[in-house]
């Protein structure tokens, strides 16, 4: 046991003391924060109000267009020709023309703009018009007020379920993001740290120190020590990333917030000058999306997700690093690893590809099976967990993963023990199988 500990300590310290570890540790959160900051900044600073002129000949839409945070509607009563002529000189970004016969020919609605209007704006306008026309047509079709009321009730009760759905979508958005991040982190770490185990073993083999070491330590202890040491390096990296990211993020948010409060104050003043207090952009509003995200996140079972993440990170890493280790022991140098890498990397890459589908359908058959099979479960199960997975499925998948890595470790140890002392020989798959069954 003492020896395993010594091996773990060496493997850990050697890697943590490396400059590249330090660089990655600092660079990771910096990149994240830079990305996050840029996105946030861009989102905040590009909030400008678009003005849309509405020329409503039908007179049906007088108060139907509601101003939003980014849209301001102005009604005009001039003729279409003069409106069109005046449009280039006005401040408006778009001009909506609703002809008198809009109910008969809804397709005659026109949107004029200097540049192409955004899809968002277009659908917003269309929605309002469609809704209104629908209402009118329903009434025309003889649907009485009462029926309408009744159907409204129906619609209403549906709206409740819809709004529930809406709640679910908002948290399923968060689930998607978190599931995606977890899957990506596990995918990356299995690759990065698995390869590190492989390299480490090949290095020991090519530098021939392995013979000295295994005259003091059992080959299995050496392999296990290395795998655990590297796993701890990974965990250290994650913890440092989380701490640094949190610190940096809160610092950045503070800076952004202070900047924004200044700006919104300025904006408010400008708006006062323009005497449009109603359209003011209240500073508090900006916090709302953040609060929304936080709310959505807190609606997820975070302790379960973090716990499972650690479990599946370790499980997936142990399963694959043992196999990577076996490859490292079987070859003489890094260049020869390629031929054995494919069968190992394939399931990892597949899981990452499957993850995209599973994100869309977290309860499907594909999702179920791939989250149970140990080779894909570390990534797929982490994608599913934020959406909620029955406990028995998690338990089954965990048990199988534990069995899986015990199996791969056993196989790896058999290959390792023979491989590390085998020099100058090109190894084939057949040979590897033979090694496994050596007494």
């Amino acid at each position: 046991m003492r020896n395993i500990f010594l091996v773990i300590r060496r493997e850990y310290l050697v890697r943590v003391k490396k400059k590249s570890f330090l660089v990655m540790t600092v660079l990771g959160p910096l990149l994240f924060v830079a990305f996050y900051g840029t996105v946030f900044w861009a989102a905040v600073s590009s909030v400008d109000i678009k003005t849309v002129q509405v020329l409503d000949e039908s007179g049906l839409f007088r108060n139907k267009f509601k101003d939003s945070e980014t849209l301001k509607f102005e009604m005009t009563d001039t003729s279409i020709d003069s409106a069109k002529a005046a449009f280039p000189n006005s401040d408006a970004n778009a001009l909506v023309y609703i002809p008198a016969n809009v109910i008969k020919s809804p397709k005659s609605v026109r949107i004029y703009a200097a540049k192409n209007v955004s899809l968002e704006l277009k659908s917003e306008i269309e929605k309002v018009i469609e809704k209104e026309i629908e209402d009118i047509k329903l009434a025309e079709a003889g649907i009485t007020h009462k029926i309408l009321e009744d159907s409204r009730v129906n619609v209403n009760s549906e709206t409740i379920s819809l709004s529930e759905e809406g709640e679910k979508t908002s948290s399923s958005g968060a689930a998607t993001v978190i599931g995606g991040i977890c899957a990506f982190l596990i995918y990356m770490s299995v690759f990065i740290y698995g390869t590190q185990v492989m390299r480490g073993i090949t290095e020991e083999k090519t530098s021939r120190i392995v013979e000295v070491i295994i005259s003091s330590v059992k080959p299995f202890q050496l392999m296990l020590g290395k795998i655990i040491g590297v796993a701890l390096v990974g965990l250290t990296q994650f913890v440092l990333w989380i701490l640094l990211t949190t610190a940096l993020t809160s610092a950045t948010s503070a800076v952004i917030a202070s900047k924004m409060s200044k700006e919104s104050a300025q904006m408010a003043q400008e708006m006062k000058k323009a005497q449009m207090p109603n359209q003011g952009l209240p500073g508090g509003n900006v916090d709302n999306p953040v609060a929304e995200v936080l709310g959505a996140v807190s609606s997820l079972n975070l302790p379960l997700i973090i716990g499972c993440f650690l479990f599946y990170y370790l499980g997936g890493y142990l399963l694959y690093s043992a196999l990577f280790g076996a490859v490292g022991a079987a070859v003489d140098n890094d260049a020869d690893t390629q031929q054995f890498m494919l069968p190992i990397t394939l399931p990892i890459i597949f899981s990452f590809v499957f993850a995209q589908f599973v994100l869309r359908d977290p309860d499907g058959t594909l999702a179920f099976w791939t989250s149970i099979i140990p080779f894909t479960s570390p990534i797929i199960m982490m994608v599913r967990i934020p959406f909620g997975v029955p406990a028995w499925e998690i338990a089954l998948s965990m048990v199988l993963l534990v069995l899986g890595f015990m199996g791969t470790t056993w196989i790896a140890a058999r290959i390792y023990r023979v491989g590390i002392l085998m020099y100058g020989k090109k190894v084939s798959y057949k040979e590897l199988v033979k090694w496994i069954f050596y007494k």
Partner: protein, 304 residues
């Protein structure tokens, strides 16, 4: 008392037999030469003693007890293929290897200090192994092999890669370790080293032990009962018990002959015989060198 008793050890690999029913005794406190051509099975035997691999059959006793993991800390092993962690610092690396052999950090530190002073390598502590020359790396590795003061030191071709000065330094260290009571196993095919240092030898050829025992006895056993003489004059009509094997003219005009003596004849009688006939410059017994013995023993083994 034997520190190592190899009893009927057989080790087979898928394609060949590395050791075939080998039994060897290694007495405590000696320098033991484990000889044999390349691929004879020396390394397999050494790996079994180091518990890197196990024998298929047979057993090994260490100090009278079947080999077990507790013996690891009592063995120091310098493999033929030297190697250290290239990117690790000398000091850290030696500390690590010493701790794997069961020393505490403090013990290891103390011992390392004295070795660093002895070898005058104090400035190396913080150097990276990869920055040292090959000879320097070998020195570091030698220190790591003997640092924990093992009872049994196994050295596989210990002098390869050393310049004569450092080879001498290492040789003196080996003799000192022997003085202190360690047993040393040399695996080598350099016969001059064996001649100089070993007390006992075993010769392995084609997976079998073909020869073992004290070096002195083996030399006795391989004696050819021939004497050489360098002389001027005519050497003929000797007593028939003296058989002149050859005659060779040396560069300076002297002649050199090898003479074989029958069992009961002795060298004094031969010398008297010669004195009356020729002018003798040199006379002596042909004692087989280890190299002769090696060649002879290996060539005598029938092709398996």
């Amino acid at each position: 008392m034997n520190i190592i008793e190899v009893r009927n050890v057989t080790k087979e690999y898928s394609s060949h037999t590395a050791l075939d029913n080998v039994s060897i005794s290694i007495p405590k406190g000696c320098i033991f030469g484990l000889l044999g051509p390349n691929g004879a099975g020396k390394t397999s035997l050494i790996r079994i003693i180091n518990q890197i691999t196990g024998p298929d059959s047979g057993e090994i006793l260490f100090d009278g007890v079947p080999l077990n993991p507790n013996h690891i800390s009592r063995i120091g092993y310098l493999p033929e293929e030297r190697g250290l962690y290239k990117k690790m610092k000398v000091g850290e690396q030696l500390l690590y290897l010493a701790q794997l052999k069961g020393l505490s950090q403090r013990e290891a530190m103390e011992k390392l200090k004295s070795w660093f002073i002895k070898f005058d390598i104090k400035t190396w502590w913080d150097k990276t192994i990869g920055d040292l020359s090959k000879g320097m790396q070998q020195k570091v590795q030698f220190v790591s092999t003997v640092l924990h003061e093992p009872d049994l030191i196994i050295l596989d071709e210990p002098f390869s890669g050393f310049d004569p000065i450092n080879a001498n330094l290492i040789r003196d260290e080996i003799l000192e370790l022997k003085q202190k009571g360690s047993t040393i196993i040399f695996s080598t095919h350099r016969m001059e080293t064996v001649e100089e240092l070993c007390d006992h030898i075993a010769l392995i050829h084609k997976s079998r032990k073909v020869l073992d025992g004290a070096k002195r006895e083996i030399k006795e056993q391989f004696k050819t009962h021939t004497y050489f003489v360098e002389y001027k004059g005519h050497l003929d009509e000797l007593d028939p018990i003296y058989q002149i094997l050859d005659q060779k003219i040396l560069e300076d005009g002297y002649l050199r002959s090898n003479i074989h003596l029958d069992g009961e004849a002795n060298s004094n009688a031969l010398l008297l015989n010669l004195l009356s006939k020729v002018e003798i410059r040199a006379f002596g017994e042909n004692i087989p060198t280890m190299s002769d013995i090696f060649m002879k023993a290996v060539n005598e083994v029938p092709e398996a």
